[in-house]
Symmetry: C2
Subunit: 491 residues, 2 copies
């Protein structure tokens, strides 16, 4: 298969990693297995639509192990790796999440740990160390060769979700004075090194300041004698090392770049981020937002792998907060006891009214939150959004209001459910729906702006949160409208 990125071969050919192929096999083969290929294949087959009947003798494939992975415990995963061909095992290992890396590494003997850690890039190792329990960190760092340890330490200075935390420090450098020919043969020699890529080379001045970039392709097409400085691209899209990963992924999406260089505030080159790392970031960010929008704290781990405890905590906290908020509805309705007592029929429509408000609210907040995440809507656009949402809310409220009125008239005609004042009741419900939907839409669309202004994550304006907010107001609107229209008749 194509190496995960160019590095994968680098890891085999490069000097420090040279030892790996020798060391690992002795570690990997042999020992009592707690799970066999057949069992793994069975688990895997469950999910694989295109599962093919495989002869039990055949060795396990990467795909099968990957398929079964989520439901295997750490020892079974370790055995699974042993069941693969060495190279496949290494390829699979390098593509695992930092959390999986930590679990496996800590379950292995130091010797085996070292040899497998050497397969990882400095940036991956940094993630592993950040993911590892504090007590294990020193131990893991101790396994690294001098050069790698230095690089990892540099990376650990950055927050995990900064550009600096995502970048790879092993990139190809060129001097502006080199000729195209010199640059090519220089990069050819570099090709064996564990560089992330040699296809984009960065031109640095003596102070490591970024002057420009050349693609290998530029070099191949440039006249051999011209110096790099003459044809390098000087207006380079770059990321600051403290740029957060969400902004960085927006940059990649906008620019369609394969690689973006990372510089500090002095323009000193720090490393490169490649687009394949960004795919994971984009999915991560979307998952976080989606879970928050579902009215819970974002989970650190995949659903099936999160412990019941974390699950209950991350959901329970929010449910409780929401319920406490929702208690205001009980208080609100307390105020309207007399109205309710006199016109019990009104209570019948309470769920209808408040849920309509909640639904229109969650639609609006969902739209705005996502648009913000994608950079389509910026803080200053709030007024544009208000204008849109007032009109939308009015239209939607009108539609629902009419439907509500019709519903009541029909039921009255069919079963006379609502007594002589059914028309008044219908109007109360209709007007309340207009008001509630309008309020829901506005609240839902403005809350993300408010949260952002307060420095909170707009995604916390979750559907449930908005719904709760709107429920209380919805009741007040409903009973106020009722009071206005029905006093004298029913009230």
């Amino acid at each position: 298969m194509v190496p995960p990125d160019d590095h994968a071969e680098g890891a085999h050919d490069g000097e420090p990693e040279g030892a790996t192929p020798v060391e690992v096999p002795t570690e990997v083969t042999g020992g009592v297995l707690r799970i066999d290929a057949h069992t793994i294949r069975e688990i895997a087959d469950l999910g694989v639509a295109q599962a093919v009947a495989v002869n039990a003798a055949e060795p396990l494939t990467v795909e099968e192990l990957r398929e079964a992975w989520p439901v295997l415990d750490v020892d079974e995963r370790s055995d699974g790796l042993k069941l693969l061909e060495q190279e496949d095992a290494e390829d699979l290992f390098t593509t695992l999440s930092a959390r999986d890396h930590v679990q496996l590494l800590l379950s292995w003997r130091p010797g085996k740990r070292r040899s497998w850690m050497r397969l990882l890039e400095p940036d991956d190792i940094a993630d592993v160390v950040q993911e590892a329990p504090d007590e294990a960190r020193g131990e893991l760092m101790a396994l690294l060769d001098e050069r790698t340890r230095k690089e990892v330490q540099a990376l650990l200075a950055y927050a995990e979700d900064d550009a600096g935390g995502l970048m790879n420090t092993r990139y190809a450098r060129l001097r502006p004075g080199m000729t195209a020919d010199e640059a090519i043969s220089y990069l050819r020699r570099q090709a064996r090194e564990a560089l992330e890529t040699i296809y984009y080379a960065y031109v640095l001045d003596p102070d490591q300041k970024l002057l420009g970039v050349v693609s290998f392709r530029d070099l191949l097409t440039a006249p051999p004698r011209t110096t790099v400085a003459e044809f390098m691209e000087t207006d380079v899209i770059r990321a600051n090392d403290e740029m957060d990963q969400e902004t960085l992924s927006r940059l990649f999406a906008e620019q369609d770049l394969p690689v973006i260089p990372v510089v500090d505030q002095h323009g000193v080159m720090k490393g490169i981020v490649t687009v394949d790392d960004i795919v994971d970031v984009v999915e991560e960010e979307a998952t976080e937002d989606i879970q928050k929008m579902g009215g819970m704290q974002a989970l650190e781990q995949p659903y099936l792998e999160s412990s019941l405890g974390t699950m209950i905590k991350s959901r329970g906290v929010w449910l409780t907060v929401l319920m406490v908020g929702e208690m205001l509805t009980a208080t609100a309705m307390g105020f309207f006891q007399d109205e309710i007592g006199k016109a019990v029929v009104l209570t019948v429509f309470i769920p209808l009214i408040i849920s309509s408000g909640g639904n229109s609210g969650s639609q609006a907040s969902t739209l705005v939150i996502r648009a913000m995440a994608l950079g389509e809507v910026r803080g200053r656009d709030w007024w544009r959004v208000v204008r849109r949402e007032i009109l939308t809310g009015l239209a939607l409220g009108g539609i629902l209001g009419v439907i509500g009125l019709i519903r009541i008239v029909l039921w009255q005609a069919a079963a006379g459910s609502y007594g002589d004042h059914y028309l008044l009741i219908g109007l109360v419900v209709g007007f309340s729906l207009i008001g509630v939907v309008m309020f829901g839409t506005l609240a839902g669309s403005m809350l993300p702006f408010l949260l952002r202004k307060l420095g909170a994550d707009p995604a916390s304006a979750s559907a449930p949160f908005v719904a709760t907010l709107v429920d209380v107001t919805g009741l007040v609107i409903y009973f106020t409208v009722a009071h206005l229209l029905l006093s004298g008749s029913m009230l």
Copy 2:
């Protein structure tokens, strides 16, 4: 800047595109502008946090135009491009969405259309044609040179969101018999062509069947005389041309590959997909899911760019459906008129009860839907999920139930709100909460599986949809519990 992908230079150097630089300027410069750099900069600055005070004389930058883009109409965008330096304008144009491409192209004269369309890759052109109104398609196709038209027609045979619809047909090919040296000099010559990339070359047999892949890096490090066949990677991760883009993006995320080749069912090489196209796909898919989960149809266009009409339609339809469903609550409560009449105080807690059910339901469905989208949970895992959710629901229900009971006892002690039977009422609320939350959790987590089984998109198990479902059941649970516990005392 680094070219969007290698193609961008290709587009300038390659033969058919050669004409562009000559043609465009005459088209771009001159003419009366409907908007000037200053205005665009003003609009842009609104949003740019790091906005710098720029001297009005300075030419507009790509970033400023990009910033202002969403709020400019098509003519202003066209003017914006004229205000940029030629090369910047072309770079920006190539990174635009298919929708933007169509709007701009159709607003231009045929001559200008041709020269700008030549900047686009066949796969981008195919998207443009698919996005264009039927009547304009033939016209656009007519602007293409013979070779490109053939390629585009081939791509148009695929659905937009299949691997075939995403792939680029201009990839580097090698024959297995070539030596490393021959391959390198062959690719060097190819470097000027408008290939998507020369860094990964695909080895094909005479029938165009995919035999293997070599990275340029492999070639540089291989002994010059060895044939490609000897060191090519034969076990190539490949995508079927009919694989849907969601599966394809999962493949990229799992494998961390920069490029994946696309083959038909006979193993014949059709094209390549590069990871930078996948970033957009991942965001698109996430946005669609998020909007569906927010209880609405997914929007085709960015929030600020969608017309009020589409907005109202895509939201109104769902709101109406949900409301019609919610009407069942009114019906349900109709059945309990007597209970309500006898114990009006019960109505006070209705919003509290049903919203708690709705919230726990949307949490559960959100979790499961996202886990499915990420491939963490597969159809066959439903039983695992049930087991988890029953326990979670029980725990969460217990917590909320106790809080509810305490709330009532406290209010009673403080204000005697609930009369002599307050303890019974508290128990009714408490037990109802347990039941409602349990039901909400289960319904929310199983609905996505059901929808998937029925061939529908699990994401349609939106929070509002689950909430509506749970509201009705919640009421029934609540009043049934009340009936059991209160009959003889209050009822």
